[in-house]
Assembly symmetry: C2
Homo-oligomer: 454 residues x 2
């Protein structure tokens, strides 16, 4: 596999020959992830040529193959008329996802070049929060009137067969004369009644629906509770505006998890791909790290305060990072459990005391086990029981502090409307470092007469 | 909200009165996440009483409200006959998910008590890998014969209307006389042709299908490439065995992300909930931490080797954890980007050199920026330019090492078939700690004549 030519080299060569047909034929042989990878490896000039060689429809297929962040980066580079022509070919939900990843001025410029109707719909969808029912719904759904008969529905289906082919037609929706949602029909409800039957006679009246601003968490709960294949979205006047499919909810939850994971690891300001310009990759990573350097200085200043103690028993310097690292790991476990329980609704942000107690017991046990382990290691090395007591005791105490803090932090941050994924870990590390250094050095100061010269 | 009685107290009281009807009525007022939370807060005796008071069907509804890990823990406590009666009420895919979370002996005991047909199907589904097409498919689908007519399909639909009500009927599948998948029909394909038309005349012949062992990643690619509402799963003889829905793929990707996140944070051996017994929570967390203690000892031993250097310039002890922590953060950013790019297929495990180069450039820039920052801090504190050069230079060098290693580790581990989420972070931390200590102390040893007495 590694000896064959990488797909982006072939792609680059085909772009250089400007042979649209051969290019399209080659792109069609690639899987979606191969397309995404190959395009990301082209330089920006080649990317521009590629999109000018493909017709808008084929270019849209390519856009659909790559992640939204990547697509947005790419489309922003194109002249806005060309970008508009391509984006018009995307389904409404995907179009909005790509536009949502761009900065406001780029997306406005593209929308200005799109056909009026499509742009108006996109603007409306963009006005919803991305993780609300409005932002997740598809606007392609089948709607009929309460005074329609089964025959008129069948006639409409026949007349618009090709247009409806890509619609998700698990359900048909029925609206009244004021356009308010009145009922829902399953496709097989149409198959058996007499053709002159009114829809009102066979539909399920007053169906479940959600408001446009229903949150992702509420939607997840909705589909857990009701095993439906879609739910209609209605506005304040009960007019139907779209349908949320359970797959869209799962996809949004997936994206949210990805963001959480990246933020926890210090990748902020959107996703990073290594094909992005070096300056923006470096800058975004630094913006996170420079906050960390301040926190690190605060934590390390504790050591500076105890320099005399440390000078008397220099061996302690070996244990300082061990105690703080180990407790940091224990604290991160507690953070992860709290974030998981919060996301499942198993714990509420107000239940600090419950979490505190649960973590305190665990912290005492794990603190003792780890402290005794580290105490043994210290004794095996230096043969001084006081050293063991100091470092083992410090690790035990700091583990307790760290798991209690780690368990509570996500709840506190959620209550303060801060993002636990962004703030938990640096805050926890700072505090556990400070406390770890403090415990080791203050315990050592107290036992100094027994530690001298170590 | 916090002043009203928590739902689990009400639930506990209703269980104590043994009033099944009132209990069921109360449970029905709760949302799924409230049910999950309330049940998790009951003690195990109350949980057992709850399930013996509900009839199997209602108990199954409760089981469907809670996460699979929680459900499995709970069902394992029940007598196996009762567990079997409850689990029989679950849809096949959910049943298998719950059984899959249990240990083998418990699930076998329950399957032995289930009705023969259901147990056989569950055993078959359990034999698939959970993240393969076989493990993700639903076995409820509508299948007809090539010599069926539209009329016979309509008759069948009418006859089995209530049974089919919960089926996902975006497509009908057509099989030949040897039971091999021959075609697919959309519901509206049935609406217009003459009733005596054979299905073979209206179906889409030779439809796309996937094998039972198709992986989750392949399925994700499939649905990215083909915007379908489901794909049939066929066995080696091209017999149709189930349908994979795109929502199931998204859900499985979601679960995989959760596992990745938890493992990265050191929660291994399955999910932890704070309502689990203290001993198992503590034990599982310790199993991870005890590996970490060994790695920490290895890293800290570098400091022990340089004790004399440290004793001459005790100030360095303040900078040791700063340099290692900061570089650890930089390395974790690179790990996160690699894991994301791997999961999207934007980088292949073999492309070590490409990642190395991309990270090296970034490491040089960020290393210089952070090193200069730390150098300034050191100078502001002690006014010694040599100290600045030592600690700033160490941070720069270690940042470079750390981002290169962090970028490559997930690729290397993936190639070695190890779990990057489990191993990347502890390995990275150990190496960056060791290197950080080594850079600070060896640079200091070289500049010792200028650092004495700091």
């Amino acid at each position: 596999m590694s000896q064959t030519k990488p797909s982006w080299e072939t792609l680059g060569e085909l772009i250089a020959t400007r042979n649209s047909l051969a290019l399209l034929r080659f792109v069609n042989t690639l899987s979606t992830s191969e397309i995404a990878r190959a395009i990301s490896r082209l330089d920006s000039e080649e990317q521009l040529s590629l999109f000018s060689l493909l017709n808008p429809e084929d270019a849209a297929d390519v856009i659909e193959s790559i992640s939204e962040a990547q697509a947005a980066d790419l489309v922003e580079e194109l002249p806005s008329a060309q970008a508009a022509a391509i984006l018009e070919e995307l389904p409404s939900d995907h179009l909005v996802d790509v536009l949502g990843e761009m900065d406001g001025s780029s997306s406005r410029a593209i929308l200005a070049r799109m056909d009026v109707e499509g742009a108006a719909e996109a603007r409306k969808l963009l006005s919803y929060k991305p993780d609300s029912a409005g932002g997740l719904m598809v606007s392609e759904f089948l709607v009929f009137q309460t005074d329609d008969t089964i025959q008129s529905v069948l006639d409409d289906l026949q007349a618009n067969r090709s247009r409806y082919a890509d619609f998700h037609v698990q359900y048909f929706y029925v609206v009244d004369r004021e356009d308010r949602l009145a009922g829902v029909l399953r496709m097989h409800d149409l198959l058996f009644p007499r053709r002159q039957t009114l829809l009102t006679e066979v539909m399920i009246p007053s169906p479940l629906s959600v408001a446009e601003d229903t949150s992702l968490t509420e939607l997840r709960e909705f589909f857990e509770e009701h095993r439906l294949f879609g739910v209609p979205v209605v506005d304040a006047r009960h007019h139907m505006v779209g349908v949320v499919l359970p797959g869209a909810v799962e996809e949004a939850l997936n994206k949210r998890k990805t963001r959480t994971f990246l933020r926890l690891s210090g990748i902020i300001g959107g996703e990073e791909f290594r094909t992005m310009p070096l300056a923006s990759r470096s800058g975004r990573r630094l913006s996170w790290l420079s906050m960390n350097i301040v926190l690190n200085i605060i934590a390390a200043s504790v050591i500076a305060l105890y320099q005399d103690t440390l000078a008397t028993a220099i061996t302690l310097a070996v244990f300082l990072p061990m105690v703080s690292d180990m407790s940091g790991c224990s604290g991160n476990q507690a953070v992860a459990v709290s974030m998981r329980e919060l996301s499942l609704g198993l714990v509420k942000p107000g239940e600090l005391l419950w979490v505190l107690l649960k973590e305190a017991w665990l912290g005492i046990i794990n603190g003792l086990v780890l402290g005794i382990l580290l105490g043994f290691v210290a004794f095996a090395w230096k043969g001084n029981i006081w050293l063991s007591v100091v470092v083992g005791g410090a690790l035990a105490a700091n583990t307790l502090v760290s798991v209690m803090l780690g368990g509570m932090l996500p709840l506190i941050l959620r209550r303060l409307k801060l993002d636990p994924a962004l703030v938990s870990s640096p805050l926890l590390t700072t505090v556990t470092d400070m406390c770890g250094f403090f415990f080791v050095l203050s315990f050592a100061a107290a036992a100094m007469s027994n530690l001298g010269g170590l």
